[in-house]
């Protein structure tokens, strides 16, 4: 009985030496799944505020840890990369002539992602390393100190409307 073999395993596929196009595609898939995972977690934790408010507070406290600050940065990166790379694919789909410059387009997306993520990373990670204030902390403290006018209550709340 003759044996059969077809090379199609994931391991073999990842050993194929594809170039920019292959790796951007893999990253597009990974960031897409990452965003989906975030969305599922977000739906669950937001639902907690209605059903188990205590657990909601607990979840928010977990998110304040340094680990989740990095995870949140990963979410920002995923959304940013997925959006910009998606626009590159749209451009290629509607103007196939752009594909003659496909590698340059990949590097243009990479540069845009890096230029955008660097200031965001600085703002988000600064407090973790004690290099600056928590974004929005000053506003929160001002509101807590009783100067509520700086933070506007939603119109329906001010009017006493119950949702």
């Amino acid at each position: 009985m003759a044996n059969t073999h077809r090379s199609t395993s994931l391991g073999t596929a990842l050993r194929y030496r594809g170039r920019e196009g292959m790796w951007t595609w893999i990253l597009h898939r990974v960031t897409g799944l990452g965003i989906l995972l975030f969305l599922l977690i977000h739906v669950v934790d937001t639902a907690l505020v209605i059903y188990w408010p205590g657990l909601y507070e607990h979840a928010l406290n977990i998110y304040k840890s340094a680990f989740f600050r990095f995870a949140e940065l990963a979410i920002v990166f995923s959304v940013l990369y997925h959006a910009l790379n998606g626009l590159r694919i749209v451009v290629q789909d509607f103007w196939p002539g752009a594909m003659l410059r496909q590698r340059q387009l990949v590097w243009a997306v990479a540069v845009l992602v890096v230029l955008t993520i660097l200031p965001v990373a600085w703002l988000m990670l600064r407090p973790v390393f004690g290099l600056g204030p928590e974004p929005g902390a000053a506003r929160f403290e001002a509101a807590s100190a009783g100067t509520e006018t700086t933070v506007q209550a939603p119109a329906h709340a001010a009017a006493g409307v119950r949702l």
Binding site: A2, Y16, G18, M22, W25, Q92, D93, P96, M99
Partner: protein
Amino acid sequence: MSMVTLRIQRFNPEADAAPVYREYTVEVDPTDRVLDTLNAVKWYQDGTLTYRRSCAHGVCGSDAMRINGVNRLACKVLMRDVGAQVTVEPLMGFRVIKDLVVDMEPFFAQFRSVLPFFINDARPPERERLQSVEDRERFDDTTKCILCAACTTSCPSFWANEDFVGPAAIVNAHRFIFDTRDAAAAERLEILNDREGVWRCRTIFNCTEACPREIKITKAIGEVKKAILYGTARA
């Protein structure tokens, strides 16, 4: 002359349960091609090594294989460009018949499915069916295909789904879809609008990078997608 180590994936379906790698040391010139090195192994070291080659000059498309992890024609790659350690493996996605020889029948079935031949039932003119230089230029790139399967077997969409019609078949459909003398563009666009047709392409560009004839394959596929979207190849 220098010594190189050739690491070849071997598979004999009548003896091996799974492929194995064997190493051969060969003396080569920098201007030798990978095909010459395979010949040196087969002729002087191990006559059981099996691979396809015919013209040996990059025209027949017989000796496409994975060289250092990427699809190439063995007759077009020089030893000086691959280093002292070379890994040679069969094309991915097709059944291995023996060593570096894969079953190309599914590939040719994909090719045939797009009607890769001239169709025009109108009465031919007295002389040639004339065409402007610009109209001929429109599909010039896709006339260059030699059906080596380097593109189709480099495509992750094809690895994941062997029913995908694959880049080579789309290239050959493009060659006729955009030919003003041909009358069956609509029929081919209908065939490629299938769920196993052009829409499985994710513009990964492995095909374009692998093509030994430097056909802009992903661009050609993009043009076919656009023709389907707008309902005409004459836009």
